[in-house]
């Protein structure tokens, strides 16, 4: 009788285990935590972009009945170190954020004082009453102004606003330019927008005087790193700090940073002996949570007569805002390392500066430096194709690395992550699939016909390669209890990515047990010895691999136990359906439950080196970065009477290696594309000349709504990575990487007949587009 093969979970469209709880309002986010005698923290923030602080007057605030304390820098100076940045280079200027402003403020929104009160309403009342006496200093906002000679300098001790410069070079750029048939030069600008998750930040801190330990709940993406940061800034041993990431309502990079409130609340909990809660409101979020993207790039490309791009030379600037925040050089570094995307371009030079200005600190956001790199490279390719009269897709094909050429050492590096060595992928095939799905061949005829009817359609492409699944490692512990139920402790920190489901699938397949037998725990540093958190598309791949490896260890242990119990040689055993069985005699078996019971401390240990429980621990430390890739293609229509850009069709063909759960991966693509569309058509953080942020509410910062995002056509390849035991790469960010490039390319294509030349990434508001159109018209 043929035995039915047990269907695998991995690769299946398994519905999420996280959902029932969240759908019924049983999530527990940081603002939902209520502790007895809890105090509420409100932050007094600088109303000016650049000023010295003459006086802070707390008298009126303290007179309010609900106020418990008002604290400024002088009260915390000796207790709190500046907030560290973890991606600085040896020669970076350490322009670090302090927990409260030290005599000077450098952006609107910078924390100046902390107010504790009996409830959130009273805290806000008191914060309003704190008097700030500020002497304005000249404000510098743009990259150009910040690097200009004689610019106002944010940190006198450094004498410059350039905090860091990265240099990377490979091949012989000078020779390539001398030999080039054509040289193209462009300057591209990238605007400022940001992650803006639906849940704002928040912290609840509690101090246990008996154990001398802090317990800190924070809406964070990396509890273990946060523990290290809190302990470090407060000069406490790490073992005295416990960090718990509860349910987190989205992060996208905004929450893998370390913020002043995350050290102020714990400090004040220690000082008052009462739990302290801080919940960010939306206005605060839009001015004091990290923003992203803003860069400028001057690029030169050397091109042969047949369109082969032989060299790229680029100088870049990132507007880091007022300081070097936790992940400060990463956007610049990723841009610098990844600009060439899937193209050979064997000669390359990049100089990339991180620049300080009186804006909110800038850090990482879904994709980090990749969206900018994909935008700049893909605009450049379209411009070259246009000038040389070569088809855009053909030009890309000519320059693309083929799968035979991989692995390919690109000669660049990404800070913290390591060398850029493309591991696997089939870039040309992804491109062909995308071209097919978008209808590339038929499009020119459609476009001409539309133009005859006065309608402007455009098609845009964006091909990119993306760093994912970075180390240094992730860890997992797998335990089996006496009933055979499995617990997985992971260092991942999911905030919407469905890791509980994905990790359950991996572990369930390893043991061949039902999904429901597995519990995945995460987020609590006391429970989980170490971990790095969820960002940079690493968790399913690295954390998942660690979990499955740990499960494999446990399975091997269970087999050992079984061989003892059944008195057979381990070689005579096989594993199936959650149990060890004697080959050829399936009735002679030991289940996970039985193995666990035999291995508990209640029994005599089976052997000296076995240990007391059916448990296993492993790490997965990738030998290198795994690179996912994708092609985005879009058709847009531009209404030249109103400037409105309508997305008619959006296609993504992506390759993230072995897919654990296709519906989760597709969900990540949808979400990323939506953020990319938002960033390209709607979202912006503009500043007035005096440094006042102009988008401080959801009326001004326009997030895309259901009407702004079309259905997205997705197809994929699976090119497993040799760098992961299960072939997995990362999938979380790609959606946001490809959208700006393909949408702007499509707008440029649509407005091509009008001679419009696009070198910025938007946002392409109707007003901007109409302005572009009008300037091409007589008298415009």
């Amino acid at each position: 009788m043929a035995v039915q093969a047990r269907p695998k979970y991995v690769g299946g469209a398994v519905k999420r285990r996280e959902d029932p709880r969240l759908l019924s309002g049983r999530g527990r986010y940081v603002a939902d935590i209520q502790l007895p005698r809890m105090l509420h923290l409100a932050i007094v923030r600088s109303p000016m972009a650049h000023a010295t602080i003459s006086e802070i007057d707390a008298t009126e605030a303290l007179a309010e009945a609900g106020t418990v304390a008002v604290v400024t820098f002088k009260e915390i100076r000796d207790a709190v170190h500046p907030l560290p940045s973890i991606d600085l280079f040896p020669d970076s200027k350490p322009a670090l954020h302090t927990a409260l402003a030290d005599g000077k403020v450098r952006y609107v929104g910078e924390p100046v004082a902390a107010v504790l009160a009996t409830d959130a309403y009273a805290a806000e009342d008191a914060a309003e009453l704190v008097g700030l006496d500020l002497e304005p200093l000249p404000v510098v906002l743009s990259i150009d102004d910040a690097v200009a000679a004689g610019a106002p300098v944010l940190y006198e001790e450094f004498g410059t606003n350039v905090a860091n410069t990265i240099r990377q070079e490979t091949g012989d750029v000078a020779a390539a330019f001398s030999a080039a048939a054509h040289v193209f030069e462009e300057t591209f600008t990238i605007h400022r927008y940001g992650p803006v998750p639906m849940e704002t930040r928040g912290v609840v801190a509690e101090f246990n005087a008996t154990t001398g330990r802090l317990k800190v709940y924070s809406s964070t993406q990396f509890p273990h790193l946060l523990r290290a940061f809190i302990a470090g800034t407060l000069s406490l041993p790490e073992s005295k700090v416990q960090v718990i990431a509860p349910d987190v309502g989205g992060g996208f990079g905004a929450k893998c940073e370390f913020y002043p409130e995350e050290v102020l609340a714990p400090l004040l909990a220690m000082r008052t002996g009462r739990p302290v809660r801080w919940v960010e409101d939306r206005r605060e979020h839009l001015i004091s949570t990290t923003q992203a993207r803003e860069q400028k790039h001057k690029i030169k490309a050397a091109v042969d007569a047949d369109g082969t791009i032989t060299a790229v030379d680029v100088e870049s600037w990132t507007n880091n805002g007022s300081c070097m925040f936790t992940l400060a050089t990463t956007p610049a570094s990723i841009f610098s390392a990844m600009l060439r995307g899937p193209y050979r371009i064997p000669n390359y030079r990049s100089v990339s500066h991180s620049v300080l200005s009186n804006k909110t600190p800038l850090a990482v956001y879904r994709g980090a430096g990749h969206p900018q790199a994909a935008f700049v490279m893909e605009r450049t390719v379209d411009i070259i194709a246009g000038r040389l009269g070569i088809d855009r897709a053909e030009l890309r094909r000519r320059n693309m690395l083929t799968s035979d050429e991989l692995p390919s050492d690109r000669g660049t590096e990404i800070v913290l992550a390591g060398k850029v060595n493309y591991d696997s992928g089939d870039y040309p095939r992804c491109l062909s699939m995308a071209l097919d799905l978008i209808g590339y061949e038929a499009f020119p005829a459609r476009q001409r016909e539309a133009l005859r009817a006065g309608r402007y359609l455009g098609l845009g492409l964006c091909c990119f390669v993306e760093e994912t699944a970075i180390g240094p490692f992730e860890s997992a512990i797998v335990r089996v209890d006496g009933q055979g139920k499995v617990t997985v402790l992971t260092g991942c920190s999911p905030h919407g990515q469905g890791h509980v489901t994905a990790l359950s699938q991996l572990v369930a397949d390893e043991f061949e047990i039902p999904l429901g037998d597995i519990t995945v725990l995460y987020g609590d540093t006391d429970l989980i010895p170490d971990g790095f958190g969820t960002f940079a598309s690493r968790s399913a791949a690295i954390g998942g691999a660690a979990a499955r490896k740990a499960a494999a260890k446990v399975k091997a242990r269970a087999m050992q136990v079984a061989s003892h119990l059944l008195e057979v040689d381990p070689a005579d055993l096989e594993w199936a359906d959650g149990e060890a069985r004697v080959k050829g005699d399936p009735s002679a078996s030991v289940s996970l439950a039985a193995a666990a019971q035999a291995a508990t401390a209640m029994s005599a240990p089976l052997s000296e080196d076995f240990g007391f429980h059916l448990t296993g621990e492993d790490r997965f430390q990738p030998a290198g970065i795994a690179f996912s890739n994708a092609v985005h293609a879009v058709i847009t229509e531009v209404d030249i009477r109103t400037g409105k850009v309508d997305i008619q069709k959006y296609v993504v063909v992506h390759d993230c290696g072995t897919v654990v759960n296709p519906i989760i991966v597709e969900g990540q693509v949808h979400g990323g594309v939506a953020q990319g569309i938002g960033g390209t058509l709607l979202e912006e953080f503009p500043y007035a000349p005096d440094g006042q942020p102009l988008a401080t509410t959801f009326m001004d910062y326009l997030l895309p709504t259901v009407d702004d995002i079309p259905d997205i056509v997705i197809d994929h390849l699976e090119t497993p990575t040799p760098l992961n035991p299960y072939g997995m790469k990362g999938a979380g960010e790609g959606g946001a990487v490809g959208a700006p490039g393909c949408i702007v390319n499509a707008i440029a294509d649509a407005l091509g007949p009008l001679g419009v030349h696009l070198t910025d990434d938007g946002p392409y508001s109707p007003a901007k587009v109409l302005g572009l159109v009008r300037r091409t018209q007589p008298g415009g």
Partner: protein
């Protein structure tokens, strides 16, 4: 973002409400739907020390259907008004505009009269009131007075209501037979406040426009009645050509001072106004002629 402290009253009668306003005057604000006022209070941009909640006054929630006019009390919800088929027949321009007012979750609480009294210059209903020559009834301890729409809308968030006055009703004339109404707006996202909006109503007689009413949203700090454009449409049989010509006139109306803000500069609004006007006029025309043809 939590609101500052205030004293709260929920009067049970209009009389009680107006005497509270008489007593507290400049310090008091009226709370109806709250969809505009409460966000401002949460952001601490509006800080009334007294809030007079009129939601419990019986009679304020009534819709009066008389010959020739429709009366909406102060707490008639936008959602209820939109769903009311009698109102759709009699005041089609208001129904057309209500579809663009926020989303159902706002319209469930927001009121028609409240939107007029709040007078956000990018709001849809003030332009409707102006186009239709509606009349607002203002009540105070001193009595009641009618305020025609033409005098009601003064400037941003400012109406002709005195600090001690409460808008208790708005009256709209009932549309004549063979009338078509349309409301078109241009926004960054569906449901947002308008960057540019046009309310258009045409009454047709024997294939020609007998009565044309046109008003603009967000083209000044109050709605603008487009008299020149109306004159150009009156008496005409509307063709695509007349629509285009009329639309061109829209930018020449008196008093246009569109805002310059982070969503759009002034010249953008002026560029888009004729496009939106074309759409509104064409649609109003096709609806009016459909009526005349008995469709």
């Amino acid at each position: 973002m939590k609101p500052p402290r205030f004293d709260y009253f929920a009067p049970a009668s209009a009389q009680e409400a107006v005497s509270l306003l008489a007593e507290h005057s400049d310090e008091a604000r009226v709370l109806a739907g709250g969809q505009s006022l409460v966000p401002l209070m949460n952001m601490r941009l509006a800080r009334p020390s007294v809030l007079v909640d009129i939601n419990r006054i019986p009679g304020f929630g009534l819709v009066g259907l008389d010959d020739g006019q429709v009366t909406l009390g102060a707490t008639v919800r936008q959602g209820a008004a939109l769903a009311d088929s009698e109102l759709a027949r009699r005041v089609p321009l208001m129904t057309a505009a209500l579809r663009h007012v926020g989303h159902p979750q706002n319209r469930a609480r927001g009121t028609v009269v409240g939107s007029l009294a709040h007078h956000d210059p990018a709001a849809e209903l003030p332009a409707v009131a102006l186009a239709l020559d509606a009349e607002v009834t203002a009540a105070s301890a001193r009595g009641t007075r009618p305020i025609p729409a033409g005098e009601f809308f003064v400037a941003y968030y400012t109406t002709a209501l005195e600090p001690d006055e409460l808008a208790t009703h708005v009256r709209f004339p009932v549309a004549a037979p063979n009338t078509g109404a349309a409301f078109e707006e241009f926004c960054r996202r569906t449901g947002d406040f308008a960057l540019v909006g046009v309310a258009a109503q045409l009454t047709v007689d024997d294939g020609h426009v007998r009565d044309a009413r046109l008003a603009f949203v967000a083209m000044a700090d109050h709605p603008i009645r487009a008299r020149k454009t109306e004159a150009a449409l009156t008496g005409k049989a509307i063709t695509p050509q007349t629509v285009t010509e009329a639309a061109r006139l829209t930018v020449e109306e008196d008093g246009l001072e569109p805002a310059d803000d982070i969503h759009a500069p002034a010249d953008f609004r002026l560029s888009v106004l004729p496009v939106i006007a074309e759409r509104a006029i064409s649609l109003a025309w096709s609806r009016a002629t459909a009526q005349e043809d008995g469709r």
